[in-house]
Subunit: 326 residues, 2 copies
DNA sequence: TTGTAGGCGTTATCAG
DNA sequence: CTGATAACGCCTACAA
């Protein structure tokens, strides 16, 4: 491994000078600069980030904590984050928390031990001391807490939209699937939906779902029709559950959207490929990731940041699981 | 930030002693050990991994390079890797390569600058010098190169299976979708399938697909029926394309599986939720991730590793896009 | 404009 | 059994 010393030696200067050209700091004669640059290129030298990090007490690493990368919504966030971070020279240490506080703590711990310079987290525990006591900037993604920096989509609005659209298209016996109680955005959606339902005086039923996992989605779909066989409109807690509902409706011989309309949430990439393709409330996941990254970078690089809360708009994506508007 | 010095001070010993108890190295009197441990707990001290890494010239970080986390196959690999690594105290620095050599190089570069102790890569360029010149262990995942350590599923076998099963279920005008030319496993599948087709003397057509992206999947599905409207069996290059094919078949009024059978590849989590649910060749993605992590850990921690090539079995998952065997 | 030297937090060597 | 102390590779006063 090359070190700054080696470069200094073959450039015939001191390490301090090499460091100066490396960091474009302080004065350095144009000619010696050239010599140094030549040496660097020749030896194909790149500075050891670990040593840098030790000295500066901070690295170019940022910590990313997501509940479960296996849920199709999160890779999109991750991708948005990574794209933006990468443009700015930051790298990502990644962990799945499984919404498990202990695991989360453990990761935060090691993030800090590795001098991460900032962190993005989709945690269910944003209020915890761990976060408020952190000495590095944190951005909550798809989550919020008071006035902490955060990026999220307007879940309540999304829920309202879903209800409005499904009502406008003629469903009258609506079932709302309520996502996991401990996940804030899931509850926002739910609240938004029932708000509208109540305002319009439409009767509805609720199905509780306690997670967003693929494996359990099927069960809830079954439970749904088991309890409410004659429902004619389902507002699902996300696209995965919605997919399972389509599947189950098919199995029961229900026609979608004629007998039953379904609206999902998220607009994961596969939604448009389903048969029928899924009408859904779109969250701009990739953008959310980019924004979160952008916000964190600001927090890191600027001392004063005005807009620390970024709310992105959701929108109704009309596809084939809803009828044409009357 | 606490340092080992602070601990030493309040424990009334030298840093060397603290270091010894931290690393369980060398002798240390039981009583002083207790004092030190008490101090550590009291101050809630955790060692600075960066300093450790600098001294040891290697960290507890491993680099992970995946083509695109947005493709549902990869999160599963990632998850498998992470789970296993996490159990062993390793953390992951992650990057999307987009199958772009330059990006890949860039990441490898920074991985090394960060003293990663090993690397897992799903690269299309395993033969490149960058890899062979690396001084840290590398495991290729879902990829291979000569006798480099690697973990992958038996793609050729998978292709053969797909062809055998679809033939056994009565398709006679088969279309094989050939995945991206530069992706080895995609070609293996293709080869396996046409091998069987040729052996059995079945005529078939080929549709080229140049990527695995969601956005383009739809186009190939359209192209497929555009060119071969009366095909009665499709062997898709992966589950995403297969999903698009189901969708397009629906649109054209074809009944699946009566008029048209479809077999996918991968068995991504959503496959079972589709309508009809997708028959596919399953790759044990999560296990592949775990195995790759396990192999890398061995490579790191042991000096001699016997089985450096791990091939995992694929299997046919019978669902609703194929008919019952006759 | 350039070089010397001290320090970032740990570990390991070597006396004691 | 314990304690100085020299690295690890880099950056930044401070001198020259």
């Amino acid at each position: 491994m090359m070190t700054i010393k080696d470069v200094a030696k073959i450039a015939g200067v001191s390490v301090a000078t090499v460091s100066r050209v490396l960091n474009e700091s302080g004065y350095v004669n144009i000619d010696t600069r050239k010599k140094v640059e030549a040496a660097i290129k020749e030896m194909n030298y790149t500075p050891n980030e670990v040593a840098r990090s030790l000295y500066k007490r901070k690295s170019k690493l940022i910590g990313l904590l997501l509940p479960d990368i296996t849920n199709p919504f999160f890779p999109q966030l991750a991708r948005g984050i990574e794209d933006r971070m990468q443009e700015h020279g930051y790298r990502i240490i990644f962990g799945n928390s499984d919404e498990n506080e202990e695991k989360e703590l453990d990761y935060i711990q090691t993030f800090i031990q590795n001098n991460v310079i900032g962190m993005i987290s989709s945690t269910n525990f944003p209020e915890k001391d761990i976060y408020s006591n952190l000495k590095i900037p944190v951005v909550f993604l798809d989550r919020t807490s008071n006035d902490s920096p955060s990026v999220y989509a307007d879940g309540r609005k999304g829920g309202r939209l879903a209800a409005q659209e499904i009502i406008a298209r003629g469903s009258t016996k609506i079932t709302v699937m309520q996502g996991p109680a401990h996940i804030k955005p899931a509850q926002d959606r739910f609240q938004g939906a029932i708000e509208v339902l109540n305002e319009m005086g439409i009767t509805y039923q609720v199905i509780q779902t306690s997670s967003f996992s693929h494996t359990e989605a099927e069960q809830w779909a079954v439970e749904l029709f088991d309890k409410y066989i004659d429902t004619d409109g389902v507002i699902a807690s996300n696209d995965i559950v919605a997919t399972a509902v389509i599947h189950e409706a098919h199995r029961l011989g229900k026609r979608v959207p004629q007998d039953l309309q379904i609206i999902g949430f998220d607009d994961i990439p596969l939604s448009s490929l389903l048969s029928p393709s899924l009408s859904t409330i779109r969250q701009p996941a990739h953008d959310m990731g980019r924004e979160a990254a952008g916000l964190l970078i600001k927090l890191i690089e600027q001392d004063k940041v005005e807009d620390k809360i970024i709310q992105l708009p959701v929108s109704f994506v009309e596809r084939e699981t809803t009828r044409r508007k009357e």
